[in-house]
């Protein structure tokens, strides 16, 4: 008990919220309820709240008891939490426009359901049913869940998180379950997979969070408290309530804060143990034995993060040859040169390197997560670049492989094809830059360079195929974004279906590869002849290829041929979109007295000579 108090006393000396949210260990795990309250109060007196977060809870077991833990993790994430607990039960009324949930306007709705809510038969162990019955139950569950959630989706905005409480008792067949041909765990696992697939394909902005994963992390005894379950229908131990709240508020942080996009890594004592400049390539710890095996695992974990859609970069004070030698030749190095989208290996101060990395990658510093073992480097970055999230690599090698697991902003809410190919896309961009340099050195102009890329643009109009990507573009794009309006998947779907809107997006491919969907424009038709451009944006990674001009001119031509005679547009300045401040000026729009841009399309003619050297195809679906 003495020890516990000291632990809290130490936490109460932390001076900033960042220090709490950037802890690499699961320090919060053993916090008691009164301590969680003290800490939450302490954290909230340190700094002002950054955002309000509105949480809705639909529950078929007691959920109010989660409140202190939700408030605790909200404090850590800098969120002022407003929680609404719907009346007990899986109540369809809550999906209606006069419901408490609707009025609460939740940013996120957490569904806390039990297995019986999915299907009454699940109140009993599944070993009581035969194969045919099980298949029927499976199918009925999927249909039933999809029905209910789509009713909620119709009226309730924000993100949905579905959870299903694991069975209070372990599998009916006990130890033999894993061996049984009708294993309960196996059936349950396949059901969960089907639920997740259904959600992914039919319910926008929704995700299934698997509580079995949490059960496995904590252990059954640390997860369920049967005393409170049987007396108050509250299933969780304080540790489990704490963990569930943490996971929920991590998602809240991902929704409310700028997206993290890059993990910038120090090399010595982060990617490997020891200092390559002193210990030599054969002297660093990296390989099958301790402590080298912890670094190998950490590198594999970084590859996982890359698969989540984060790109990797190196920022190290070293001789470039030494680091390159390890990347190219060390037999146990997992991450090779091609895994890193950019590198800064030199002796310059790291904040300076981070700034130039941001420029090279065309990304804002607020999308950076910087990982370094040195107190000095971490403090420099913290003090000089407050936008950057700084994570200090733990001193104990065994803690290194999992050191990024607690970082909320490294969680993701969706995974598009573009996310998974991101590293490759940045690699292609480097090849383009090299080609451009070569051509410029040979006295060619920009148009010749662009023509040599053999670009093809594919424009989709009102297609429902990639709604999650389109919503993601509005949420993530900051620099090449004329109005910076953020839209959810449901809103995008609404625009696509509405006659008053035209939703156009494009993908681009060239000699070096396919960019994925990188541009989006939303046109709002005020009447048959007047249209306004509600949003016009493009991913940074295709900047510099005149794709924006091709896209805009093509769309103006499309509108003109659909009898639109005038287009209004706005440039809404933010501190990040200076890049496009003269975009409309450069595209023959006139700035009117009311501050809006306008372009007359009544005599619009497509000028083929001025059109960028891009072959455009399009398909329309409305």
């Amino acid at each position: 008990m003495k020890q516990k108090e000291n632990h809290i006393d130490k936490l109460l000396t932390l001076r900033t919220r960042r220090e709490f949210s950037e802890q690499t260990t699961d320090w919060y795990k053993s916090i008691s309820l009164p301590d969680a309250k003290r800490l939450a109060r302490h954290i909230n007196t340190l700094e002002s709240i950054e955002h309000v977060f509105r949480l809705g809870v639909i529950h078929t077991y007691t959920s109010d008891l989660l409140n202190p833990w939700l408030d605790f993790h909200a404090a850590i994430q800098g969120l002022e939490l407003h929680t609404y607990h719907a009346p007990y039960g899986m109540n369809i009324m809550e999906s209606q426009e006069n419901s408490g949930l609707f009025a609460h306007k939740p940013d996120l709705t957490l569904f806390l359901l039990t297995r019986e809510d999915l299907h009454p038969s699940l109140a009993n162990p599944i070993s009581e049913y035969n194969d045919g019955q099980l298949q029927q139950i499976h199918d009925e569950i999927i249909t039933h869940l999809a029905n209910i959630l789509s009713k909620f989706r119709t009226n309730i905005s924000g993100h949905f998180v579905l959870t299903i409480l694991p069975r209070i008792l372990p599998a009916a067949l006990g130890l033999f379950d894993a061996q049984a041909d009708r294993s309960e765990e196996a059936w349950w696992a396949s059901l969960k997979e089907a639920i997740a697939t259904k959600l992914r394909n039919t319910i926008e902005s929704s995700m299934f969070v698997d509580l079995d994963q949490m059960l496995a992390t904590l252990g059954r005894k640390q997860f369920f408290d049967l005393r409170y379950w049987y007396t108050s229908r509250f299933p969780f131990t304080p540790q489990a309530a704490n963990e569930l709240a943490r996971r929920t508020l991590n998602l809240a942080a991902v929704l409310k804060y700028p997206k993290a996009k890059v993990i910038v890594l120090d090399a010595d004592n982060t990617l490997w143990g020891g200092i390559v400049g002193e210990d030599g390539i054969n002297g660093i710890s990296l390989g099958p034995e301790y402590p080298g095996n912890t670094f190998v695992d950490f590198q594999h974990r970084l590859l996982d993060f890359q698969k989540r859609g984060f790109i990797l970069a190196i920022c190290s004070k070293n001789n470039p040859e030494d680091v390159q030698d390890v990347l190219d030749n060390h037999p146990h190095q997992v991450l090779r040169k091609h895994h890193f989208s950019a590198q800064r290996v030199n002796w310059l101060p790291k904040p300076e390197n981070l700034i130039s990395l941001a420029e090279e990658l065309n990304l804002g510093l607020e999308s950076f997560v910087f990982v370094d073992d040195s107190d000095h480097e971490c403090n420099m970055a913290l003090n000089q670049l407050p936008q950057v999230q700084v994570i200090q690599t733990p001193a104990k090698p065994v803690e290194i492989p999992a050191c990024l697991e607690q970082i909320a902003r490294l969680e993701i809410l969706s995974l598009t094809q573009e996310d998974q190919q991101k590293t490759q896309l940045y690699l292609q961009e480097n090849q383009r830059k090299n080609l451009q340099k070569e051509l410029e050195a040979g006295g060619n102009d920009i148009r010749q360079y662009l023509a040599s890329l053999n670009m093809e643009m594919n424009i989709s109009i009102d297609s429902t195929d990639n709604i999650s990507r389109l919503a993601q573009l509005t949420q993530k794009t900051n620099q090449f974004n004329l109005t910076t309006r953020r839209y959810s998947e449901q809103q995008i779907r609404h625009f696509i279906e509405s006659e008053q809107w035209t939703v156009a997006s494009f993908s681009l491919s060239d000699t070096f590869g396919y960019s994925g969907i990188v541009g989006l424009a939303l046109f709002h038709h005020l009447n048959t002849s007047e249209t306004e451009i509600d949003s016009f944006l493009m991913s940074c990674r295709v900047i510099g290829r005149q794709a924006e001009t091709a896209f805009l001119v093509f769309m103006l031509n499309y509108l003109a041929s659909n009898s639109v005679s005038s287009v209004a547009a706005d440039y809404l300045q933010t501190h990040k979109n200076k890049l496009v401040s003269d975009f409309y000026d450069n595209h023959d729009f006139l700035l009117e007295k009311n501050g809006r841009y306008k372009r007359d399309l009544s005599e619009f003619q497509l000028d083929k000579d001025l059109f960028p050297p891009i072959k455009v195809t399009h398909k329309t679906e409305k």
Partner: protein, 76 residues
């Protein structure tokens, strides 16, 4: 700090009320905020703070400063 003070402090923290509003006679029956939810939260807080394990039968009975203090002194 004696057990009773520690109990009163834990109650104040858990119910989100100033310590000054809690005295040795405080109990669920004379505090509106000490409802059944608060009771469950309080039991969890007591278990964690005093490192004790409560039986189901104790959960609802321990609803005053006196009964809680007595229980902890008897069981630790």
């Amino acid at each position: 700090m004696n057990t009773q003070d520690q109990v009163m402090q834990t109650i104040a923290e858990t119910l989100n009320v100033p310590l000054s509003t809690i005295n040795k006679d405080s109990a669920a029956e004379n505090m509106d905020i000490w409802d059944s939810f608060a009771q469950v939260n309080l039991m969890m807080a007591l278990e964690q703070t005093f490192d004790i394990t409560l039986e189901v039968e104790d959960l609802m009975k321990l609803n005053s400063v006196t009964s809680i203090t007595d229980f902890i002194e008897r069981n630790s």
